[in-house]
C-alpha cells in the first residue's frame, strides 16, 4: 500500500531521515516508535506530501507522492501532531469545510454524522473549536482525517494530551478502524504501540533500528526469562528447593512480610520452569502466593535500541546465536536490576501493566 525506498531528508546539514526503506501492506497497523527528534514526524510529513524529500521515493497505492500528489493525497487521512483546526469555526462548519476541501463525492450529512458518531463528537457539533478541551480537539482532528473514508490513515501521536479514559476510547476507535484500513501510527507510549500495532518500526536518529512485531522484538532481544514469585515459607528452605530445579540461573530474595518472601528467579536460556517449580514447591508444602512471568518489555527493547551507541551492531548481535548474545545478556541483567529497584518500591504494578499490554 505504501512503499518507501531509500528515503532521505536533509534540513540544511542536518539529516532528519537517513536512507529509510520500508513497506506497509494493505490492512496493516504499523507502529512508528522513536525518541523525540528521531524523524517520525518528518517521515509522516513526507508520506502525506506536506514536505518533500531530498532523495528516494514514496509511493502510495502505486502513486508517487511528488509526481501524482493529488491522487496520492486522496487516499490518505492525516492527523498531524497538532490537529490542524481553525479555532474560530464550529465543529460542524469545520468538518463541512474539510469535506469540501477533500472534494468528497458521497452524501454529506450521512457521512458527517457517521464520522462524528465514530469519534463521539456529536454533542459538541455546534461549539466553537476554540472552546473545546484538548481531548475533544484531538477527536475533531481524527474526524477530519477520517472524512472521505481514506484507505490509509496516518496518525501522529493520536493520544498525546488525553486523559486515560479518552486514551482508551481513541485506541479502541483506532483498532476498530484498523480492521479495514491501513494505519501508520507514531507514538512514544510503548504499551500503546504493543496494544494496537501488528508491526513496529523503531527509528532513531533518522534510521530504522528495528522492525518486527512487538512480541518478536521483545523475544528476540530477551535471551533470559525472569520469574517473580512470592512464596510462603522459610527463606533458606525455599531457596534450596528452588535451586534444586533444572535450568535455574540465579535467585534473589527479598522480604515481603512475615514468612512470605519475594524471589526473583532468572532462568537459563528461555526455558519455562513454572510447572517444575510449582510441583516442587507443592511437594514441600510451600504455597505460591503470586507468580509473574517477566519478559523484556518493549520499553526495555526500545531503550536498548535507542540509547546504546552502535545500535546496528547490537541488533545483528542479538539476532545471531547465543554466543554472540553474551554481551547482550549483561545488558539485560542491568536493566533487570533497574526494574527490580522499581518493583520493590511500588510492588509489581509496572510489570503487570506491561504484561497486560503484551497479552493483548
Amino acid at each position: 500500500m505504501i512503499q518507501i525506498t531509500n528515503l532521505t531528508k536533509k534540513f540544511g546539514n542536518k539529516v532528519a531521515v537517513d536512507d529509510v526503506t520500508f513497506k506497509v501492506e494493505k490492512g496493516e497497523i504499523l507502529g512508528f516508535l522513536g525518541p523525540n527528534g528521531a524523524g517520525k514526524t518528518t517521515t509522516m510529513n513526507i508520506i502525506t506530501g506536506y514536505i518533500s524529500y531530498t532523495s528516494g521515493s514514496v509511493t502510495v497505492d502505486g502513486m508517487d507522492i511528488l509526481k501524482n500528489p493529488e491522487e496520492a493525497k486522496k487516499r490518505i487521512g492525516y492527523l498531524p501532531e497538532n490537529p490542524p483546526l481553525y479555532l474560530d469555526m464550529t465543529v460542524w462548519d469545520y468538518l463541512n469545510f474539510v469535506f469540501d476541501l477533500k472534494a468528497i463525492k458521497i452524501d454529506r450529512n450521512e457521512h458527517l454524522q457517521e464520522v462524528m458518531q465514530t469519534v463521539k463528537i456529536l454533542d459538541v457539533k455546534n461549539r466553537l473549536i476554540k472552546n473545546l478541551s484538548k481531548g475533544y480537539r484531538q477527536r475533531v482532528g481524527l474526524a477530519q482525517a477520517l472524512l472521505g473514508n481514506p484507505e490509509i490513515l496516518i496518525l501522529d501521536e493520536p493520544t498525546v494530551g488525553l486523559d486515560p479514559k479518552q486514551i482508551n476510547e481513541i485506541r479502541s476507535v483506532i483498532k476498530e478502524l484498523g480492521r479495514e484500513r491501513t494505519i501508520i501510527l507514531s507514538s512514544h507510549i510503548l504499551p500503546e504501540v504493543s496494544a494496537i500495532c501488528e508491526r513496529v518500526i523503531i527509528i532513531n536518529n533518522g534510521r530504522i533500528v528495528a522492525s518486527d512485531s512487538p512480541e518478536n522484538l521483545s523475544n528476540s532481544l530477551a535471551g533470559t526469562t525472569i520469574l517473580n514469585v512470592r512464596i510462603e515459607g522459610d527463606k533458606d528452605a525455599v531457596t534450596n528447593v528452588l535451586q534444586s530445579l533444572d535450568n535455574v540461573d540465579s535467585i534473589e530474595v527479598s522480604t515481603y512480610t512475615g514468612s512470605i518472601y519475594n524471589y526473583r528467579i532468572k532462568t537459563k536460556d528461555e526455558t519455562d520452569i513454572r510447572r517444575d517449580m510449582f510441583y516442587a514447591l507443592a511437594e514441600n508444602r510451600m504455597p505460591i502466593m503470586q507468580l509473574s512471568h517477566q519478559n523484556l518489555s518493549l520499553e526495555d527493547v526500545f531503550l536498548k535500541l535507542t540509547t546504546v551507541e552502535p545500535s546496528e551492531e547490537k541488533i545483528s548481535a542479538s539476532k545471531d546465536s547465543n554466543d554472540a548474545g553474551e554481551s547482550n545478556n549483561e545488558d539485560i541483567s542491568d536493566s533487570g536490576q533497574d526494574a527490580k529497584a522499581q518493583d520493590s518500591d511500588e510492588g509489581s504494578g509496572d510489570n503487570m501493566e506491561i504484561q497486560e499490554a503484551d497479552n493483548q
Binding site: 534540513f11 510529513n45 502525506t48 506530501g49 506536506y50 514536505i51 518533500s52 500528489p69 493529488e70 491522487e71 493525497k73 486522496k74 490518505i76 492525516y78 498531524p80 497538532n82 490542524p84 483546526l85 481553525y86 479555532l87 474560530d88 469555526m89 462548519d93 469545510f97 474539510v98 469540501d100 476541501l101 477533500k102 472534494a103 477530519q144
Partner: protein, 234 residues
Amino acid sequence: MTAIFKREFKAYFTSPIGYIYLGIFLFFSGFFFSAINLMYTMTDMSPFFSNLTIILVFMLPLLTMRLFAEERRNKTDQLLLTAPVSVFGIVMGKFLSAAALFGFSLIITFVYPAVMLIYGNPLLSTVLALYCGFFLLGCSLISIGVFVSASTESQITAAIISFVILLFIQLSDWVSSLFNNATVKKIFDWLSVTNRYQEFTDGVLSLSSVMFFISFCAVFIFLTISSIEKRRWS
C-alpha cells in the same frame, strides 16, 4: 479552491477584520464622495478614486495579512497542503476571497454613481472604466499582500511589510523622479501601478493596461506559490 474561497470569505465576517475594513473603507468613500463630488457638484469620479487609493494602502494589508501567516502559525497549512488540492488552488482561493471582499465593498459604492444619475448626467463609460481600473489596482495590491503573508509567520509583520510596499508603490512616481538615469526612470514608470491606473481616470479601458494588472497579479501569485513550494523543499 472553492472550499478555501468560501471559508476565507466567511472568516472575514467571523472575525472583526471584515467589519473593520468595510466600516473604514465605506466611511472614507462616503466622506470623499460628499466632500468632492457633492460639495463641488461634479460628476467626475477620478478625484474620488485617487483619494480612495490612499485608503487602500492602509486597508488592504488588513485583508491579506492573515491569509497565510495565520495558517502557518496554527499549523493548519498542514491540512491544506496534505489535502488533494494543488498549491495553485490554495493560493487562488485565498487571493480571490480578499479580492471578493474588496469587490463587495466597491459594489456598495455603486450608490454614489446612482445618486449622480438621479441628480445629474455622469458619463457612465468613464465611471465604468474607473471602477474597472480601481478594482484591478486593488487586486494587484492584494496580490502583493498575499505574497508577503505567505513569506512570514506573523500577521503583524505581514501587515507592516505589505503596508510599506504599498506605500512605496504609491510613491513610485516620486521615487522615479529621484533618479536622473533615463533607463531607471523608465523601469520605475513602467512598474508604477498608479501610473497605469492614471489611464483609467481618463476613461480609457485600454487592453494593455488591463493586461498589465492581470499579469501583475499573476506574477505575485506565482511568487506566492514558489515561496510555499520552496518551504516544502527546504
